[in-house]
């Protein structure tokens, strides 16, 4: 029902350009511009996939108020820490647990929403690389979101109805001997390329 509501408000159109919606285990990684990003990707998936796919969200932000706590828990978000990382709250631990239990994840490797009028996503943080190392069998799918920041831009809480498009690209894998920086640059480029595709 939540998914239906999100689809109604955003008129989201999923474009499967490089892969098909299948039930294999996946990490969807996307550009991040709006609080709607996670819910929109999640809602654009077919129901069977939606059940086992969890958006990953920042613990500090999404537990700060009661409303945010309620929203993140009702979407089944995996919350991870962004600051004061210690061995005990290592963000990779809950993510690994979710993947080990057979789920798929939606992550935003920028770690935060990009500035309001930024054209391109920020530099990717290394979490995606670590997950790719630990779970070589999980497909890494680049996702490009367009217009979410026009519905609900950073720093505002009233929505404007705009049609969102979500493009799912071709899965990427870590190449033989590729180092962390090169992989993250390539992953980020894959997301950007999806956005340039249809403009």
């Amino acid at each position: 029902m939540i998914a239906g509501f999100i689809r109604l408000v955003t008129g989201v159109q999923a474009r499967w350009c490089g892969c098909v919606p299948e039930s294999d285990q996946r990490i969807y990684f996307a550009n991040h511009t709006s609080n709607l990003d996670g819910p929109v990707i999640w809602a654009s998936l077919p129901p069977a996939l939606r059940q086992r796919t969890k958006p990953v969200a920042a613990h500090d932000y999404w537990t700060a108020t009661r409303l945010r706590r309620w929203l993140s828990s009702s979407l089944g978000c995996v919350l991870i820490h962004r600051t004061q990382i210690t061995g005990a709250n290592n963000p990779l631990v809950p993510l690994s647990a979710a993947l080990e239990s057979g789920g798929s994840l939606i992550i935003f490797p920028e770690g935060k929403r990009a500035a309001a009028d930024a054209d391109e996503p920020d530099v990717f943080k290394p979490g995606l690389w670590h997950l790719a190392q630990r779970f070589p069998n999980v497909a890494l799918i680049p996702v490009h979101l367009e217009n979410c920041n026009r519905i609900l831009p950073k720093g505002d809480w009233v929505p404007v109805p705009v049609i969102v498009s979500v493009s799912f690209g071709e899965p990427i894998t870590v190449n033989e001997g590729e180092d962390k920086e090169a992989f993250l640059i390539r992953a980020r480029a894959a997301v950007i390329a999806l956005g340039n595709d249809h403009v």
Binding site: G11, Q13, A116, D117, N147, R150, P153, D156, V158, P159, V160, P161, V162, I163
Partner: protein, 318 residues
């Protein structure tokens, strides 16, 4: 007005029967044209999708009209909402326009339709051109971002006029104060929708059959002279033949049908210019075979308000 009045009125029943017959005819013709290999061509696939979409659109409009005036107002408010959403999606605005856009969608739009449901004609007619116009311009300026300000604001103002103000005139026909009351307004609305939309269809058919030379080559290669002349002429003849749906004499209805179809063509041309400008073919994918909502109602954005106000003036309505 009570529910199902449209079915109690013999004029409306007749025109609905005609529309039903035309739709059945269209389905039969496309089915027979689609036999064999020819049915797999993109043209025929698109044609079949268009006919199916026509069934849905007619069903929705008739359902709204059947449920009465308020349902009709709500229906067109929803059409406005979807059309404006398509328009704003393609007309890039900036962060500074966010609050202005919010008020267009959630204050100006509902307000315009509440005022016609009221109905409070004097305020409804000026609310958007006077108050919403000022508010949108001021709100975006107060946000302090001057980059491309005029361009951004023009886009919002155009969306406001085309998607809300103009489309809001369609349910207004029901309460425009015709001597025979709301049912006369409903007949007139059916007449306008039928003439303008049939004109679109007939322009398409004439164009596909005989079209060669485009009217405005740089705007649209599909709007040909044959389509334009054939479509306008035949739709005007049909509009004249259906004069009994309007409060006018047959030759008055004929002039009005000509004006409505010409403005319908112009509405399509203007929206094509906008689509060309932003580099898309259609405004969306909401209606199979047709594109977006806005691609379907583009012919009503000028013809609706102009016909409405011409009739007010001609019949000297208060």
């Amino acid at each position: 007005m009570t529910m199902f009045d449209i079915w109690h009125d013999s004029h409306c029943r007749t025109v609905l029967a005609i529309i039903g017959a035309v739709l059945i005819g269209a389905s039969v013709i496309t089915a027979s044209l689609s036999r064999g290999e020819r049915g797999k061509t993109p043209l025929m696939i698109n044609l079949r999708a268009r006919v199916v979409a026509w069934w849905w659109m007619v069903a929705l409009v008739v359902m709204a009209l059947s449920l009465g005036f308020i349902a009709t107002v709500v229906f067109f408010a929803f059409v406005s909402f979807l059309a404006l959403r398509e328009f704003i999606t393609l007309a890039p605005t900036k962060r500074g326009d966010h609050r202005a856009l919010f008020s267009v969608f959630f204050i100006a739009l509902p307000m315009h339709y509440v005022l016609i449901a009221w109905p409070w004609y004097q305020f409804w007619a000026i609310f958007i051109p006077v108050y919403a116009f000022a508010f949108v311009a001021i709100r975006s300026a107060l946000a302090g971002d001057c980059e491309r300000y005029l361009e951004r604001n023009s886009k919002i103002q155009f969306g406001l006029m085309a998607c809300i103000y103009a489309i809001g005139h369609l349910p207004a026909f029901l309460v425009m104060g015709l001597p025979e009351g709301e049912i006369a307004g409903m007949r007139l609305l059916l007449w306008l929708l039928l003439v303008v939309q049939l004109s679109d269809v007939l322009q398409y058919v004439w164009g596909k059959l005989f079209g060669r030379k485009p009217v405005i080559p740089r705007l649209s290669p599909h709007k040909t002279w044959a389509g334009f002349l054939g479509g306008i002429t035949s739709a005007t003849i049909i509009g004249t033949g259906l004069w009994w749906l309007t409060p006018l004499l047959w030759y008055e209805a004929s002039v009005l049908a000509l004006i409505a179809t010409l403005l319908g063509f112009c509405g399509g041309a203007v929206m094509s210019a906008i689509k060309r400008d932003v580099g898309v073919k259609d405004f969306g994918h909401a209606i199979g075979g047709h594109g977006g909502i806005l691609d379907r109602i583009d012919s009503l954005i000028f013809s609706g308000p102009v016909v409405y106000h011409l009739i007010r003036w001609w019949l000297d309505l208060p």
